[in-house]
């Protein structure tokens, strides 16, 4: 578990590359950073600068090749699949493409965020928790709609609900507000900040949205795979 000594995320000397031999392309160069508990940390930089690669490395969605990533007190380099799965259950992910399950309703998609922890509590309580967060995100009348019946913004809100419903310790978000209007985008980020204040949830977000950047506790800029500020 996270101790008061260990920050939720500590990255040291991280290098990452794709391909091998002559086709090898280095995406991250000697990156070191820490993410503080309860903080909203924004990663920004031009397209192809390595933001998403860094986010997925910190979120244990990619194997660490060189350097160190300590996530919630556990080293990810060389970590077993089981321990990575256990770690991921303590995280929330919001993807740019929302990645909703097309055959599940908004409520069922959100429930998947709870059921990953197993049959904890009764089904009615889980159902109520899913409905509650969807209500908060303005999807009350559409909780039993399939994703194909929802707009891009509504789908993104379902993805956000799915990530937040289990009260994760860290939320990783890749352009979460890209499909939302300005007001809804700000509302989502305020919600993430409120979670940080109330429960100590840290958020690491990749975004180009200038309105959101103002709300960040910390901004890390990355260019050509190198951290240049933050």
């Amino acid at each position: 578990m996270t101790s008061h000594i260990d920050p939720p995320i500590r990255v040291e000397g991280l290098n990452h590359w794709f391909g091998a031999g002559e086709t090898r392309i280095q995406a991250i160069f000697d990156a070191s950073l820490t993410v503080e508990r309860g903080a909203l940390t924004i990663l920004r930089g031009p397209s192809g600068s390595g933001k998403t690669t860094l986010l997925t490395l910190m979120g244990s969605l990619r194997k660490v090749q060189d350097g160190s990533v300590r996530l919630l007190g556990q080293e990810l380099r060389g970590a077993s699949q089981q321990s990575q799965e256990a770690l991921r259950r303590r995280l929330g992910f919001i993807f740019q493409a929302h990645n909703l399950h097309e055959s599940l309703t908004a409520r069922q998609n959100t429930l998947m965020g709870l059921q990953v922890h197993g049959p904890r509590g009764d089904a009615a309580k889980q159902d109520a928790a899913a409905a509650h967060i969807l209500e908060i995100l303005g999807l009350g009348p559409r909780i039993d709609y399939l994703p194909e019946k929802l707009s891009g913004g509504q789908k993104q809100r379902v993805a956000i609900a799915r990530a937040l419903v289990s009260n994760p310790e860290i939320v990783f978000a890749d352009e979460p507000t890209a499909a939302l209007d300005k007001e809804a985008g700000i509302q989502v980020v305020r919600m993430l900040k409120a979670l940080g204040a109330a429960r100590g949830t840290s958020t690491v977000m990749v975004t180009h949205d200038t309105c959101i950047i103002e709300l960040a506790d910390r901004i890390i800029t990355i260019e050509d795979g190198k951290l240049v500020s933050g």
């Binding site: 979120g59 969605l61 259950r89 990645n99 055959s103 059921q115 990953v116």
Partner: protein, 396 residues
Amino acid sequence: MTRLLHLLLRRMPIGWLQLTHNRMRLVAAVAGIAFANLLVFVQLGVVASMNNVINLTYTPFSADIIISPPSPQLFGGALLSRRIVYMALADPGVAAATPLHLGNMEWKRPTGMSKVLIVYGMAPEASAFAGETISARQLAMLALPNRVLLDSAFRNIEQATNAVAFARMSPETPMEFEINGHGVSAVGSFSLGSGFGYDGALFMSDQTFQRLVPERMSGTLSHVLIRLKPDADPDTVVRRLTADLAAEHVQARTIAQTIADDVSYMNTEAPMGVIFGIGVFIGIFVGLVIVYQVLATDVAAHMKEYATFKAMGYPHRFLLGIVFEEALIIAFLGFVPGALLGAGIYSVMGAATGLPLGMTAARAVVVLIGTFAACMISGTLATLRLRGAEPAELFG
């Protein structure tokens, strides 16, 4: 259905929801599995039919032991000498022995049509050797010369005989016809049916057989049928006969062993059986490829969704559970039309060829279990890419 599966699986039935969400994909998958099932049913049906035909050729007679030429098949072996009968009778465990004559004939009809017959000849007084399809009373009816029993399951019998005469056939109103230049009277019928190289069968006395098959040398026979004394052990008598007849180039076997050898030879050595066996193998292989293709396509279509589950911390066995759920549902939904179509094809093929083709519960269960197994294996293979991959790679 969703609620029922939810209760059974104790989780959201994601596989079922996925399948029913895209109806066209579901129909295509079910059609693929049904076709794979149909292929396997047809191939298995043909092989089973061949084995049924072999078994049926043994039904007009019965025996405890049969002495045969060194050929694995009932028809077509070398001829034996009549002295084998007497040598067999000398064994202390043998109660009775009788010759069995077997042959093939071409039956030319006045219409110009020609039929191929297999012919059985046996002494009319050998009632102890009457088989399950010929009674001792029918056998006795053959004592008069040129009387025969005609196969009622003859292929296209209506084209070969007069239907009214066939229906009235009895010792009092026999159906007369000519075969091999000899007039014969059919006084009754028995059921055997057609095989892969003949249209039906005739059963007659040994004397009539000698007249109709003049090229068969007098004193020769095809097999010797043996009945044992009540206290005789068949295996012991077989061993003794084998030793006593060692110089005669014959083989003595129990009737069960004889049938088993015949079936085994047809399945593993005879060209027709080997070709049918390869047909079964190809049917199963093509079926497996179709099943794998169906499930691999489905897994590929949901790759991003599975990657998301992985990213959320769901273990691989959860994803495998979804794919297995889909595999079992598709397997069952595909099996039902596959089995129905298979039964229909059997019916059409049986009607066209006269072969004993039909759906059996055992075959249906075997194919269903095989389909479940094939779907599970294919599902496992289709998810291999998911197992080792990192979620970030799968988002593509």
